[in-house]
């Protein structure tokens, strides 16, 4: 007679929502007629993500949510931080889905390929280029990825963490390759992401094995216990290192960032937005859990490491970003730099550091989705015009678009009265509190330098004369409009009156397990 493991379905509702939606989506793909799939899939995905978001919020506000519980035989930790991150991921995921669903911009009605199986450049491919059909699998795939991310940040156990990692990664690899235009780039991005991703997860796995060997358990709490009692042996430390490598890869922290620019540039822009926002949140969620829960009592081991890679990431991201000529690539390097800034928050104490990082993730995710959404608007003959030079004089053609982009760029640069500044201030404050002010100074200097490449785009849009055959600014359909409205509003609100959200993050800043 086997007794079933404890399973608090209430605590799992968010995940159930999302995964449920994904599974139904798969069924729809196989049974629903093609012409209805697009709307149905979009609806499903939205239901799943929004439902997930709603349920996390509900869980967070319901009584007894704090201090959080461990469920599913201790595999999952449902706590403040976890819920905050899940909500963030679900919300950002919903926005990304909206970007996926945009049909107003591309003459072919979608950013995704009609049929991925058709070789790029073949005659069939050319005739499908303007076909209204869409590889609607992207929606369930994206939903799966979102589910994986939400699982990732709730994982209380290295194995679950690994599974979640794969669940979020594999769909991403696929949808990276599904761009309708510039398919070669898209496919190349997919291959690179896949091979390197798999490579990285191998490291993660090996680290898992070593930690398991050193401590005899894969439960974070167990690891913590043994670290506290038996201290840190070589095996354990090696394991920690490899685990960190695996996670930092996903978080696109230098020196594990190399895939980021290529994939961000090659992938369909909505997917890039999705990755830039959600993947980063998920990866940092896992990093926080691993470092704070499992190795929280041995922080002296990883503190210098994080210190170091934070600096490397900021410097690499900023310096390489200076000379980029492609908007998406530029934003990719900016995301590498931001990973560095986030790490300064990770350095902070479990209290302010955690809440600061949570806030930063939210702010950055929203802003970056907005930025990529703007990128989808600026188009010329063959799809999006991502060359910086093409943006010259955009402010004349479409003051609104230029204004929105400028605002979001200022947020990324961390100018006051934008969410970017609030976030930066939070993480830097946390780092200073633990005496890491030299790191903060480095971070501030690098963000000053980073100002250059954000402003370069502003200079182009406003101060340069427009080129005759410059790109046109598409009129966004409802989905993209919603996304832009939400992100810009959020960026502004989080910059001007961030109080409530900061408090929320403060209250959420708790990890169990």
């Amino acid at each position: 007679m086997i007794e079933a493991p404890d399973l608090s379905l209430a605590a799992l509702t968010p995940l159930l929502f999302v995964f449920g939606a994904a599974l139904v989506g798969v069924l729809v793909e196989s049974f629903a007629p093609r012409h209805v799939r697009q709307p149905v899939q979009v609806a499903l995905a939205l239901v799943g993500t929004v439902g997930g978001f709603a349920s996390t919020v509900f869980l967070a506000l319901a009584d007894g949510a704090d201090p959080g519980e461990v469920t599913a035989a201790g595999a999952l930790a449902v706590d403040g931080a976890g819920l905050f991150l899940q909500a963030t991921i679900a919300g950002l995921g919903a926005l990304s889905i909206l970007l996926f669903a945009e049909r107003g911009l591309d003459p072919a009605k979608s950013a995704f390929v009609a049929s991925a199986a058709v070789p790029a450049g073949s005659p069939r491919d050319r005739e499908l280029l303007t076909d209204e059909r869409v590889q609607t699998e992207v929606y369930p795939l994206a939903t799966f990825a979102i589910g994986g991310m939400m699982l990732f940040v709730a994982a209380n156990d290295l194995l679950v963490m690994f599974i979640a990692l794969e669940v979020l990664s594999l769909p991403l690899y696929l949808i990276c390759g599904l761009a309708r235009r510039r398919r070669l780039l898209s496919q190349e991005a997919a291959v690179k992401y896949f091979l390197l991703g798999a490579f990285a997860s191998a490291f993660f796995l090996y680290g898992l094995a070593l930690v398991y060997g050193a401590t005899g358990t894969i439960r974070l709490s167990g690891i913590r216990a043994s670290v506290t009692t038996e201290g840190t042996g070589t095996l354990l430390v090696l394991g920690l290192g490899l685990l960190v490598v695996g996670l930092m890869f996903k978080a696109s922290v230098a020196p594990f960032h190399t895939w980021t620019p290529d994939v961000y540039q090659g992938a369909p822009t909505p997917v890039t937005a999705f990755m830039a926002a959600c993947t980063k949140v998920a990866a940092f969620g896992a990093v926080l859990r691993l470092l704070y829960v499992a190795f929280g009592t041995a922080d002296w081991t990883w503190r210098p490491l994080v210190y170091g890679i934070a600096i490397v990431s900021m410097v690499v991201g900023v310096v390489l970003g200076l000379t980029q000529t492609d908007v998406k690539r530029m934003l990719a390097y900016s995301s590498i730099a931001h990973a560095g800034f986030l790490l300064t928050g990770v350095l902070g104490l479990a209290g302010s550091g955690l809440s600061a990082t949570l806030f930063y993730l939210l702010a950055y995710g929203l802003t970056t989705i907005g930025a990529f959404a703007v990128v989808t608007l600026v188009r010329d003959g063959d799809g999006e015009a991502t060359q910086l030079a093409q943006w010259a004089g955009l402010a004349r053609r479409s003051p609104l678009t230029a204004g929105v982009m400028t605002f979001l760029l200022l947020a990324l640069a961390g100018i006051p009265l934008t969410s970017g500044f609030t976030g930066k201030f939070a993480v830097f404050r946390a780092a200073t509190e633990v005496g890491a002010w030299p790191l903060v100074v480095v971070a501030l200097v690098t963000s000053a330098v980073a100002g250059y490449f954000y402003l370069r785009l502003v200079v182009l849009m406003y101060f340069s004369e427009p080129a005759e055959d410059g790109p046109s600014v598409g009129v966004p359909g409802l989905p993209t409009t919603i996304v832009l409205a939400v992100t810009v509003t959020a960026t502004l609100v989080l910059g001007v009156v961030p109080g409530s959200v900061l408090d929320l993050a403060d209250r959420a800043a708790a990890l169990v397990g």
Partner: protein
């Protein structure tokens, strides 16, 4: 009367006005101008009323408004002014309308509409008021950085040929300074957190902290670098000539006249009271920079061939004087420095405006292209001369009083630096008179000959008249301003540990008790 939130109104009104102007439909430049002028005049009125409501004998900070802004960080939206900030607000109130009228006929490069320009002007005004009126360090920082954005667009969109470069250099240079200061701001917060138990940014609370000297030095440097870049002190000055030369005249006036004062204002408002020990430690070095700036700036001004660059370099020299007065730690020097901040705003403002009028007639910034202006445009030449004399601090003009105060106030405390600084008086005469000799005097030639070069028009008269009046008026009777400034500076002297009553003479003259005169 004093319970009305004057300062809040002065921050909000232009901001709203700016938004409104920006929202105007295309091609409504005329409306934009009138609206901008109206708003800026309203702000001037508010400033004057605020001054009336201000009680010179009262608390250090008055007309205060404070609401919690970001409780998580203990940030308050707290406004309030002491005499120092108040006179700066008055300066802003005067300069902005003048600038608006001065820019009335300007046309953007490539004929781009000027609507945005006026909108940005108003936004800038709001930010400038905020930065001087903030009594919460975080809020100050927010305005300090946000202020860059409007100026960035003013320079970048409506400036001269190299405006893109200039705007970028201006923004990045200032941003760097600002971010270094942010480090100190955060540090200050952390210190307050450890000392008071809860982090705060309230100026008055921070002033009470006693910070360990080592930490103090670091925090001081953070603030100092930011302000030294803004002010700017040599060697952090090279962005100013580019920005000042490329900015549209109106922008240049506000940039040099007000924005840069945030640096010197920061010295006296934040560096001295918050980090007295560090200030004393670094004073000799800073005085060195100040004096170096006086001579270096003047020399470079003499060497310039571009009128606008020349004016910016003269400002660098003047900022040297201001810093000298501040870091001499005497009441007379400090008051002189603050008065200097106002006067320099006026005198350099009018100098820039006149230079702008000359350029708008000739269409070139090279001094060599002009000559004998006095013959064709006597009125313009006259105003030019007045502006020049004000900038070389001739007695009877406003600048004399402040320069004299700075020097006589610094001399007792820092004789050597002061003596070297006085050489700047001669150099000032040199660069002004050289400019006059080359462009205003001499036979009519160059563009003055080839261009129509009309004399001042009505509108231009309206622009310069109030400034000339102020130059003379404040030159003859500066006492009202000094009465505003003195208490605040005196309080600062207490913070930094100097005699709040001023410099006691070595000997008490027999006639002292009958009053010095």
């Amino acid at each position: 009367m004093s319970d009305f939130p004057w300062l809040l109104a002065m921050v909000v009104l232009p901001a709203v006005g700016g938004a409104a102007v920006a929202a105007l439909p295309k091609g409504r430049d005329a409306v934009a101008k009138q609206a901008t002028l109206g708003v800026s005049l309203a702000v001037l009125v508010l400033a004057v009323l605020a001054t009336v409501a201000f009680d010179t004998g009262g608390d250090r900070f008055q007309l205060t408004t404070a609401v919690d802004w970001i409780p998580a960080f203990g940030v308050q939206f707290a406004l309030g002014v002491d005499g120092i900030a108040l006179v700066m607000l008055l300066l802003i109130g005067v300069l902005v309308p003048v600038v608006v009228v001065a820019s009335w006929k300007d046309t953007g490069p490539g004929g781009r509409p000027m609507k945005a320009y006026f909108a940005w002007l108003l936004v800038l005004e709001s930010m400038m008021v905020g930065v001087f009126a903030a009594t919460d360090v975080f809020l100050f920082y927010v305005f300090f950085e946000a202020m860059l954005v409007p100026m960035y667009f003013i320079i970048g969109s409506f400036g001269g040929p190299r405006r893109q470069f200039a705007a970028m250099k201006f923004f990045l240079y200032s941003l760097l300074g600002g971010l270094v200061m942010l480090a100190s701001v955060i540090g200050l917060y952390v210190v307050s957190n450890s000392q008071i138990g809860e982090g705060t940014f309230a100026f008055d609370a921070l002033r009470q902290l006693d910070i360990d000297p080592g930490v103090q030095k670091l925090l001081f440097l953070g603030f100092f670098v930011a302000f030294a870049i803004k002010a700017p002190l040599v060697p952090f000055h090279t962005w100013l000539p580019d920005s000042g030369a490329e900015a549209p005249i109106g922008g240049a006036v506000l940039l040099v006249g007000v924005l840069d004062k945030v640096g010197t204002f920061g010295f006296i408002r934040y560096c001295l009271p918050l980090f007295p020990d560090a200030s004393r430690t670094f004073a000799p070095w800073i005085l060195g920079l100040a004096v170096a700036g006086i001579l270096y700036g003047a020399l470079l001004a003499i060497g310039q061939s571009d009128i606008k660059r020349l004016v910016t370099y003269t400002s660098i020299a003047h900022f040297g004087f201001i810093a000298l007065g501040i870091f001499a730690f005497t009441l007379e020097g400090g008051s002189g420095a603050v008065l200097y901040m106002v006067n320099h705003g006026i005198s350099t403002g009018i100098l820039f405006l006149v230079v702008g009028m000359v350029i708008s007639r000739g269409g070139s910034r090279r001094i060599a292209d002009y000559g004998g202006i006095a013959k064709k445009a006597p009125l313009l030449a006259g105003v030019f001369l007045v502006a020049g004399l004000a900038s070389l601090a001739l007695p009877g003009t406003n600048s004399f009083v402040s320069e004299f105060l700075v020097l006589i106030g610094s001399f007792p405390a820092r004789p050597v630096f002061t003596v070297v600084a006085t050489v700047g008086i001669v150099l000032a005469a040199l660069y002004v008179l050289l400019l006059i000799q080359r462009s205003v005097h001499g036979p009519v030639r160059g563009l003055v000959e080839s261009q129509p070069f009309p004399d001042l028009r009505r509108r231009e008269l309206a622009v310069v008249a109030p400034l000339v009046a102020l130059i003379i008026g404040l030159g003859v009777y500066p006492q009202p301003l000094l009465d505003l400034i003195d208490p605040a500076v005196s309080a600062t002297m207490v913070d930094v540990g100097s005699d709040p009553a001023g410099t006691q003479p070595v000997h008490q003259p027999a006639t002292a008790e009958q009053g010095a005169n």
